[in-house]
């Protein structure tokens, strides 16, 4: 804008000067010789004035160029036809009129394009929204005993984001045929010193390994029976947890937690009513890792969940202890398409269970402490980037009558269309004793993820 105005002024003045000079031969003879000197003097004064204007214009032009983002070749001013020579600033041949230093030029360019940058860099009210992911998990099942079913298992929405420099939060809302539930909603510190993190809210308590996996993240279709029965599905808990990474060269992580209860489907403890401190469940876990070779690693964990008094069971104590072992073979150069994982968890439950039914003669309920145990163990191979076959073995005793047990074996094949979509075929043979019952089940699972997807350390 400035530049075109200056050019226009310059052109105008130069044209006027040209007209004056061209007109000169015609006007001079009309003058008397006495006035000739005066006329020449006046002409010189005009020339001097024009020279000053020209100089002033050049200075303004320099200024405009300094303020312009780039210095395109200046449009040549109308040549001052027969104009008298005016003093031009010395300029080396071929050199630009102005050569600012690089920093100055950068500053000028940025200053000039800032409005365009600001316009392009729009802001939205939703800009600070958390990352959002959506997961669909659906299964077709066929059972010899329970017939067939298309089972919509869940549609899950996950949110995660930093709260401030000190903590982050995440939430998982799960919709199932039974309704909508807040599966997890937790705050986790991110900047505590000395290797500590604190987690609070509703989350999956750090008991063992697969109890902290969401259903759709499990390596097989169904949660192992021992986790279902002893923990109550996922280790969902309302409470607080402190984790500490030991400051030594070997990986050792310690967790302590206190919760209303552990287990999403653990119906024996009411999550909603207030309770004595002795009715909380307290957790301790230690987890370590051995790098046996570059390709072979072993995770070992031990967890204990202790409830001093279980209200629904006559305020008797309950202790659930578990050991988990995970051996991973991952040849480094073929990590994406070769390897295997062997995972095992053994759980032992020790708790007071109602014994003989009260009678008039013996009105007090008699409790007996009973121990029951169970395990699962699976081996999964990675044959290609797509095909992961595996075999799962399970054994679990009944809480009340440990002599009764269930065992199952499940070969399965997971087919990864991509990192975000998976099909799984599984056959399960289940046997339960006293009375002996068997069942054969077939599953076809289809799981997909859209949106934000995080590779978490917990689910590795």
């Amino acid at each position: 804008m400035h530049r075109s105005a200056a050019t226009w002024i310059r052109r105008g003045i130069a044209s006027a000067l040209g007209v004056l000079v061209i007109a000169e031969p015609f006007t001079v003879p009309a003058q008397q010789p006495a006035g000739e000197a005066q006329l020449r003097q006046e002409l010189d004064a005009v020339k001097e004035q024009l020279r000053r204007v020209e100089q002033q214009m050049r200075q303004q032009e320099e200024l405009i160029r300094r303020l312009s983002p780039v210095a395109p070749p200046s449009a040549p001013a109308a040549p001052p036809v027969a104009a008298p020579p005016v003093a031009a600033p010395p300029r080396p041949a071929g050199a630009p009129a102005y050569t600012p230093d690089v920093e100055e030029l950068k500053r000028m360019v940025l200053q000039e394009i800032q409005p365009q940058l600001a316009a392009a860099n729009k802001t939205f009210p939703s800009q600070f929204n958390p990352a959002i992911g959506f997961i669909v998990d659906t299964v077709f099942s066929h059972s010899r005993k329970n017939k067939s079913n298309f089972e919509f298992r869940s549609a899950e929405i996950g949110f995660s984001g930093n709260i401030d420099p000190f903590a982050r939060a995440y939430g998982i809302i799960n919709g199932t045929p039974d309704g909508v539930d807040v599966e997890e909603a937790a705050i986790v510190t991110t900047s505590l010193p000395w290797g500590f993190t604190v987690k609070g809210g509703r989350f999956f308590a750090e008991f063992g390994r697969l109890s902290t996996f969401h259903d759709h993240d499990l390596p097989f279709v169904n949660r192992p029976l021992v986790l279902d029965r002893f923990i109550g599905g996922e280790s969902q808990a309302d409470g607080v947890e402190v984790n500490w990474l030991a400051p030594i060269n070997h990986y050792v992580s310690l967790t302590l937690g206190a919760y209303n209860k552990i287990g999403a489907d653990n119906d024996r403890v009411d999550n909603a009513v207030p309770r004595d401190l002795s009715e909380f469940t307290y957790l301790g876990r230690v987890h370590t890792f051995f790098n046996l070779t570059d390709s072979l690693g072993l995770d070992v964990g031990a967890s204990d969940a202790y409830t001093p008094e279980v209200r629904n069971q006559g305020l008797k104590e309950r202790n659930l202890f578990g050991v988990d072992l995970t051996l991973r073979y991952t040849p480094l150069s073929q990590a994406a398409y070769r390897g295997f994982i062997w995972g095992t968890e053994v759980l032992v439950n020790h708790e007071g269970r109602p014994g003989i039914t009260p009678t008039e003669d013996t009105p007090n309920q008699i409790f007996r402490f009973k121990d029951a145990w169970g395990l699962y163990s699976y081996l999964e191979a990675r044959l290609t980037r797509r095909f992961y076959p595996g075999l799962l073995f399970e054994y679990v005793q009944d809480f009340d009558r440990p002599a009764i047990y269930t065992r199952a074996i499940s070969p399965y094949l997971t087919i990864w269309a991509s990192e975000f979509q998976r099909l799984r075929l599984q056959y399960t043979h289940v046997e339960t004793t006293m009375p002996r019952r068997t069942d054969d089940q077939f599953f076809l699972q289809w799981t997909a993820i859209i949106g934000s997807h995080v590779h978490s350390f917990r689910d590795r």
Binding site: T190, L245, N249, T384, S418
Partner: protein
């Protein structure tokens, strides 16, 4: 009391770490060995560098070992490629490390992509395009010109954290980049036969190299980045490669050999195996020998060697 003092002091001295009193080195954890080598060039004796990846891995599938969390817990700085190259393992490991000073956006989080002009920046973000990187293709380490940009970012990053050594970092960085300049001039001469040669890779990780040396990426064995090929894609690729006379099939050493071999045989293209990182093959001992190896191998292939 005095009698006890001496033994107690002796025990305390014995428990002190061996390096107490010695100048403490800057503990650097890099994500890939290329960055480890370049950091050593810049930091010299001032740094003690460990790389998470060994060089043979697919950088998008580096295992998340808990022992890496321990390394990161002790790190003074972390040096990474950036452009989300390490998205599959680094964010989770950083969280598990409990080390607040190396978290993203902290001064000790040194992103080496800051001076790189990214290629293949997607104009549309959609998973139907594969496992794409929103900020552009992150495999810029294979272009030695970007090697210089990495060095510059490392000099900046280390100087930001240790301004007292900034002059040393700058001097070392400039000296190494001068060495790289000489090597680049040599590689440009040696790579003259590569100009205009068409190639297919398993994954699009050679595009910065191709841009530098004038090669033409014809396609990838993967159907999309991170998505394994289907039989229909392979058949189509073979057909198009035949029609367009593609010269070379590149198998990055961390991808399966079978399919690349089949495609090379079916099309008559020369099959070469290239590392994507330093130490990906024994000859690629450091950054310069990595580029040396890749240039030499490809030139030999197109010359029919």
């Amino acid at each position: 009391m005095r009698r006890m003092l001496l033994p107690v002091l002796a025990i305390l001295v014995a428990l002190l770490p061996a390096d107490v009193g010695a100048a403490k080195k800057i503990r650097v954890v890099s994500t890939i060995p290329d960055l480890a080598d370049l950091t050593r060039q810049v930091g010299g004796d001032l740094v003690d560098v460990t790389s998470l990846a060994t060089g043979v891995e697919d950088v998008h599938a580096v295992p998340m070992k808990p022992s890496y969390a321990v390394l990161l817990n002790r790190a003074d700085v972390v040096i990474l490629m950036g452009l989300e190259m390490e998205h599959a393992f680094l964010p989770a490991l950083l969280e598990a490390s409990r080390n607040p000073k190396i978290q993203r956006d902290q001064p000790a989080y040194i992103d080496c992509s800051v001076y790189v002009t990214p290629l293949e920046v997607p104009t549309r973000l959609d998973r139907s395009l594969g496992d794409i990187h929103p900020m552009g293709n992150p495999h810029f380490n294979l272009d030695p010109g970007n090697g210089k940009n990495i060095v510059r970012a490392i000099v900046d990053g280390l100087s930001r954290n240790y301004p007292e050594h900034a002059a040393t970092f700058k001097k070392n960085g400039d000296a190494y980049n001068a060495k790289l300049d000489e090597a680049i001039a040599r590689w440009q001469r040696e790579a003259a036969p590569l100009k205009g040669k068409k190639f297919v890779t398993y994954h699009p990780d050679l595009i910065y190299f191709a841009e530098r040396f004038g090669m033409v990426q014809f396609g990838t064995i993967e159907i999309r980045p991170g998505i394994d090929p289907t039989p229909a894609h392979v058949a189509d690729l073979i057909e198009r490669m035949r029609q367009n006379k593609v010269d070379v099939v590149v198998r990055e050493v961390h991808y399966p050999a079978g399919l690349a071999t089949t495609i090379a045989k079916a099309t008559g293209a020369k099959l070469v195996e290239l590392p994507a990182m330093v130490r990906g093959v024994p000859e690629a001992k450091d950054y310069i020998s990595l580029i040396d190896y890749n240039v030499r191998t490809l030139v030999n292939a197109v010359k029919g060697g």
